[in-house]
């Protein structure tokens, strides 16, 4: 997994190790979500923040699953009308926030789903690959924040 593959809008990115404000990696209100480009950008930023290759891959996977969940609410045929992906480095953590208007978004109970075909596999992978998962709902939006400690 390397850099963005197809023109994801990106903004200025943080300097290594220092705190910064949220920057928007992607925002969409109606069209196709470029999953590949988003995960490639997360991978790039994670490497830039100091994560080794495997951990950067893990982060890209976790954010990818969050974006898929936000964009499709579990069904590829149902696209939500807002998906936003943001990133920042704060207090030694690599943070990504995925926003959706899907207010039905809920965190499933922790643990491996009994069957891979049942709902919850995406969140199981997310929880496996990051240190903290927080879901906030406010003003008609759901915000899923993923945090992972940056290695020193």
């Amino acid at each position: 997994m390397e850099g963005p593959a197809n023109g994801t809008p990106t903004h200025s990115h943080p300097s290594v190790g220092s705190d910064n404000e949220w920057t928007t990696i992607f925002e969409d209100v109606a069209g196709q979500v470029p999953f590949q480009a988003i995960r490639a950008e997360i991978y790039r930023r994670a490497r830039e923040a100091g994560f080794p290759e495997q951990a950067a891959w893990d982060l890209a996977m976790a954010v990818h699953e969050a974006v898929v969940n936000a964009a499709t609410h579990g069904s590829p045929s149902r696209h939500e009308d807002l998906v936003r992906v943001q990133h920042r480095v704060r207090r030694g953590f690599f943070e990504c926030r995925v926003t959706s208007r899907n207010l039905a978004w809920e965190l499933p109970p922790p643990g491996r789903p009994g069957s891979l075909s049942r709902p919850g596999l995406g969140f199981f992978l997310i929880r496996t690959f990051v240190d903290e998962v927080v879901l906030d709902k406010d003003s008609g939006r759901s915000e899923l924040t993923l945090r992972r400690k940056i290695p020193r």
């Binding site: 995960r39 891959w57 491996r112 992978l125």
Partner: protein, 120 residues
């Protein structure tokens, strides 16, 4: 099929499906179609993921479904995912490798199926 995924089917002593590129929610349906075709034939099947660069929950669900389909049709299934790869690690995390044997190479997976054709 999106151009991020390439699936090549090779018919030898067993059917070998080579998966190249990225498997995600957009490309997984096409992969499911190709693997289902192969699984229904009743010939032993090797799914080579050694050149797959990305594999998400959608891809894992496809493998889970294909394992069930293969079982229904008497098709034995083996995966190829090198031991140090991210995909092999993913198979281990979700314990899919307990259901479908995973090998480091196509040769090893094929030999496994050829040497023990009835799974004894």
């Amino acid at each position: 099929m999106p151009d991020t995924l390439e699936v090549i089917v090779e018919e030898n002593a067993v059917t070998i499906v080579h998966v190249r590129g990225e498997v995600d929610i957009l490309t997984a349906p096409a992969l499911r179609t190709r693997l289902a075709e192969a699984a229904r034939r009743g010939r032993d099947l090797v799914v080579d993921l050694s050149e797959a660069e990305f594999f998400d929950a959608s891809g894992l669900r496809v493998l889970d479904q294909i394992a069930a389909l293969a079982s229904e049709h008497g098709t034995r299934l083996a995966l190829v995912a090198p031991g140090r790869s991210s995909i092999r690690r993913l198979l281990d995390i979700v314990r899919l490798d307990e259901r479908i044997p995973a090998w480091d190479s196509v040769a090893a997976a094929t030999a496994f199926l050829m040497e023990d054709p009835r799974g004894n």
